[in-house]
């Protein structure tokens, strides 16, 4: 995320050496020495030496808007968003209206607010940036995400529709907004978007699948099965939907139906590890440990860093009394464990 945003900033405001010269030249009040330092600091930032730039700029009078502005930009590039906000909030209104410096300050301040989770503060600044960077995709994406974070689904849908090139009032726009809402774990908002998409176009692919995914996440298993089946009626060749259907059956302890759905998923896409893992669990439950072991080893073959597969394989081996092999798998699973909720 950080890399993408930094990239967006450079793309919008300062993509070239000309821009650096222009900005340094546009500063009116600083003396020649200050101008030289500003130009040199700008180059350091562009070259990826933001911390050195900060040191240089802090030696100047940071109450000067031009210095404070570039110092804020340097802090942003040094991942010190809090100090960037402090600097840029102070100088933004002191920079000439319509100047490149002002635009950069607004944009970087908006990004810093976004990165520190202050989405409500970020939105008006990103909207202001949007006015002079209408076609910038990265900005559209960030603004769309900020609208979701501030729970403005209509604005998010419009912005993301533009980003993904679909009509803003179309079912596809609802689908795209929902997809991003799921990514950000705003499931109730996503569910509403998906239902609106279905009202507009009941046969739009992926909508029933995502609704099924949300139902599965909430443990509403009958609903997940129905929705997955609806999706398959539209897209019978969608391996992920067969996989989801198998998952729902598995959670209902319907081993045979789960195995059938998962096998179909694998016939369509034999290279995805997920169905092998679930089949491993199905065959454990069906009392076929050798088949389960085979499935889990397939999963590991296609996805060596699949922690669940290693963990389940460890369990199968442990229960078979192959403790040394089991220990090895548990150790791998433990190494692959990533903390976090």
């Amino acid at each position: 995320m950080r890399a993408a945003l930094a990239c967006a900033c450079v793309l919008l405001v300062c993509a070239s050496a000309e821009c650096q010269t222009l900005q340094a030249g546009a500063v009116q009040s600083p003396t020649g020495d200050v101008k030289t330092t500003l130009a040199s600091a700008r180059k350091l930032i562009t070259d990826g030496n933001a911390k050195e730039a900060i040191a240089k700029l802090q030696a100047l009078d940071t109450s000067m808007p031009e210095v404070g502005h570039l110092l804020g930009v340097a802090f942003y590039h040094a991942d010190d968003h809090q100090h960037a906000i402090e600097q840029l909030a102070k100088v933004r209104d002191k920079l000439p209206e319509g100047s490149t410096e002002r635009r950069e300050a607004v944009q970087v301040l908006g990004l810093c607010y976004y990165l520190t989770g202050k989405y409500a503060d970020a939105v008006p600044l990103l909207e202001e940036t949007r006015r002079w960077a209408e076609d910038n995709l990265e900005l559209g994406y960030i603004l769309g995400m900020a609208y979701i974070q501030t729970r403005q689904p209509d604005a998010a849908r419009r912005e993301l529709a533009r980003t993904f090139g679909v009509a803003p009032e179309s079912a596809a726009a609802n689908l795209m907004a929902a997809q991003m809402m799921i990514r950000l774990e705003f499931e109730p908002l996503a569910e509403a978007e998906l239902k609106r998409a279905l009202e507009k176009d009941p046969r739009l692919p992926r909508v029933n699948y995502l609704l099924g995914q949300l139902a599965l996440f909430r443990g509403r298993l009958d609903e997940a099965i129905t929705l997955s089946e609806r999706e398959l009626a539209i897209s019978p060749g969608d391996a992920m939907t067969w996989y989801q259907l198998g998952d729902a059956y598995l959670r209902q302890s319907r081993w045979d139906e789960a195995a059938t759905a998962l096998q179909k998923s694998l016939w369509i896409n034999p290279f995805y590890s997920g169905p092998y893992v679930l089949l491993g669990r199905v065959y454990v439950k069906k009392g076929q440990p050798a088949t389960a072991e085979g499935m889990l080893r397939h999963a590991i073959q296609y996805d060596p860093n699949n922690r669940t597969a290693h963990y389940l394989l460890g369990q199968v081996l442990q229960q078979a009394g192959r403790t040394e092999e089991a220990k090895r798998e548990f150790d791998i699973a433990e190494r692959l464990q990533s903390p976090g909720r």
Partner: protein, 575 residues
């Protein structure tokens, strides 16, 4: 073996459920509750205010929290500190980052059960008016003098209180050798006799090695929940290591954490702690619910050491092999197959986890097949297995509340204050969520944390006391409305530790056998009733009770009457 003397009668001194129903109907209220009771065979009434439990638990900021320290809240302990046969209540209290003027700090509270439905706050008289970042509490008679002692965990320094037997406690932390060399974040705790020497040892989980000066704050932007800056952790913060203290028998303890293998758990961030005999070998094992990490199942190796077998036995992760945010624990034989199963509460957006003990050294995750997998909205803390309707099958009671007060800003979340969840055991391996059917008081939202399960009115069923954050506690009195029978057992060790923690009782009736253990710790940060309570359904006779004492000795008691509490003494038979 002659019949044993009961300690208390089955007559409750609290207003009966029947009276409450009639009164409600006369007043034209609560028809819903009445019909629910008829179907369910039990009802809950929150009697906290009438009972005199009225002190608010203070814990961190109310609107927002800077550190995770402000989120964990406090536990509760049920103990009979004065030996009068009525379970008293100890509620841990906390503080805030700003602190309080001297003399105005919130303190822990001990409430003496007066036996008439009310409690008396005896905190100061008992010498328990301590303040600080209180966490959990567990009770046990560590010096075998017949008086329940108390251990309280803190972020800072844990405290051991010896019950002097005259209604007061003395802080013996230092004298007992429990002074820590640095501040630690003590969490759940449990007394246990892991080496079968007849003396209670002590295990305390440690959550995070917290240093406020280096912990990121929400304003850093590093830590968000659904877009909102929140307190950071536990991922990214150094996890604590659990501690085990061996009771030397002279009033002091020795830290054997390293030597016993307790520090070599796979995971960290320990919260809830409970003893259990997982493998049925008669030696006390321990389960620790870890947050964001694989939980620990410490198998007792019979030689003073433990091995964490949680991962290998399938009792540590979700069924997908993912670590969950373990909080509270309930242990019980919910499927009546003779083994102790494990129920663990977790974070919102996840299910709680039901690990069925298969009896061959493994857990089978039955979260979905038992019918509880649909509940993902709630963030669980205290939890207990209890037989609500007295049918001989263990039901479940879960206490909930979000970690972050900031979730109030998210309308789609369940909120900071959350209702309870009650599951009824359907006798076929499945549970039904009957929370809405019960209605108030269990559907009233609170920021619940610790919960202790005990029969406070000595009517043979198990009531629940809940320690809420920024609210007074709840005391849910359970009343059975169905025509069922019960028996309660108080086990007293003579060769074993006096509390008989680690003992297993098997009650055999015409329709089979029920098993319960006397356990240290339990729930979230709490101590449950050390007495055992069995619902007998329509059984009018008990064939026999078989007790396996913590020493391993087994005794059979016959001729026990139903609908009363029996005190069973090790080797002494009837008393």
């Amino acid at each position: 073996m002659p019949p044993l003397t009961m300690r208390t009668s089955s007559t409750s001194l609290w207003p009966s459920a029947a009276f409450v129903i009639v009164y409600a109907i006369l007043r034209g209220i609560a028809p819903h509750a009445q019909s629910a009771e008829t179907k369910l065979g039990f009802s809950f009434t929150n009697v906290a205010r009438e009972a005199g439990l009225d002190v608010t638990t203070i814990y961190g900021g109310q609107q927002s929290n800077k550190y995770l320290l402000e989120t964990t809240g406090c536990g509760a302990a049920a103990l009979d500190y004065d030996g009068d046969g009525w379970m008293d209540i100890f509620l841990v209290n906390g503080t805030t980052l700003e602190g309080f003027p001297k003399g105005q700090e919130p303190t822990n509270h001990l409430y003496r059960n007066k036996g008439n439905g009310t409690f008396e706050d005896v905190t100061k008289r008992a010498g328990l008016a301590a303040s600080g970042w209180g966490q959990g509490a567990c009770a046990g008679d560590y010096d075998n003098d017949g008086h329940e002692d108390l251990f309280v965990t803190y972020w800072g320094q844990n405290k051991l209180y010896r019950n002097t037997g005259d209604g007061t406690f003395e802080d013996v932390t230092s004298r007992a050798g429990l002074t820590q060399t640095r501040a630690r974040w003590g969490a759940g705790c449990a007394f246990l006799d892991y080496d079968r020497d007849g003396r209670l040892d002590l295990l305390a989980a440690n959550y995070i090695d917290l240093d406020l000066s280096t912990t990121p704050v929400p304003e850093s932007g590093l830590c968000r929940y659904k877009g909102i800056p929140v307190a950071c952790g536990p991922p990214g913060l150094r996890g604590g290591k659990n501690v085990l203290y061996h009771n030397r028998g002279d009033g002091t303890f020795e830290d054997v954490s390293e030597r016993s293998g307790i520090t070599r758990a796979k995971g960290t961030y320990g919260l809830g702690v409970s003893t259990l005999d997982f493998d049925g070998d008669g030696w006390t094992d321990v389960y620790v619910a870890n947050d964001s990490n694989p939980s620990a199942l410490y198998r007792n190796n019979h030689d003073g050491t433990f091995t964490d077998i949680g991962v290998g036995s399938g009792c540590a992760y979700s069924q997908d092999g993912k670590p969950q945010a373990g909080m509270g624990l309930a242990i019980g034989d919910y499927d009546r197959n003779g083994t102790m199963d494990i129920f663990k509460t977790n974070f919102a957006g996840d299910t709680s986890t039901l690990y069925a003990n298969t009896g061959n050294g493994f857990c089978e995750d039955r979260t979905f097949s038992s019918g509880i997998g649909f509940n993902t909205r709630w963030l669980g803390w205290g939890v207990g297995f209890l037989d609500l309707d007295g049918d001989g099958w263990l039901d479940l009671f879960l206490v909930n509340g979000h970690v972050y007060p900031e979730v109030e800003r998210i309308k789609t979340e369940a909120g900071y204050k959350q209702r309870k969840v009650v599951y009824r055991n359907l006798h076929n391996g499945r549970f039904a969520d009957v929370t809405e059917q019960i209605g108030p008081p269990v559907t009233v939202a609170k920021a619940g944390r610790g919960a202790a399960f005990a029969d406070f009115d000595n009517d043979g069923d198990v009531d629940v006391v809940v320690n809420n954050i920024h609210d007074p506690p709840d005391l849910f009195r359970l009343d059975r409305t169905a025509d069922v029978h019960w028996v309660s057992l108080k086990l007293v060790g003579t060769q074993s530790n006096r509390d008989a923690i680690g003992a297993l009782a098997r009650v055999v009736t015409a329709d089979g056998e029920q098993r319960q253990e006397v356990r240290g710790g339990g729930s979230y940060y709490s101590q449950n009733d050390l007495r055992l309570h069995f619902g007998l359904g329509s059984n009018r006779a008990i064939d026999r009770v078989i007790v396996r004492w913590p020493t391993g000795r087994e005794e059979t008691f016959t001729g026990l009457a139903i609908d009363r509490l029996h005190t069973l003494k090790e080797g002494g038979g009837a008393r």
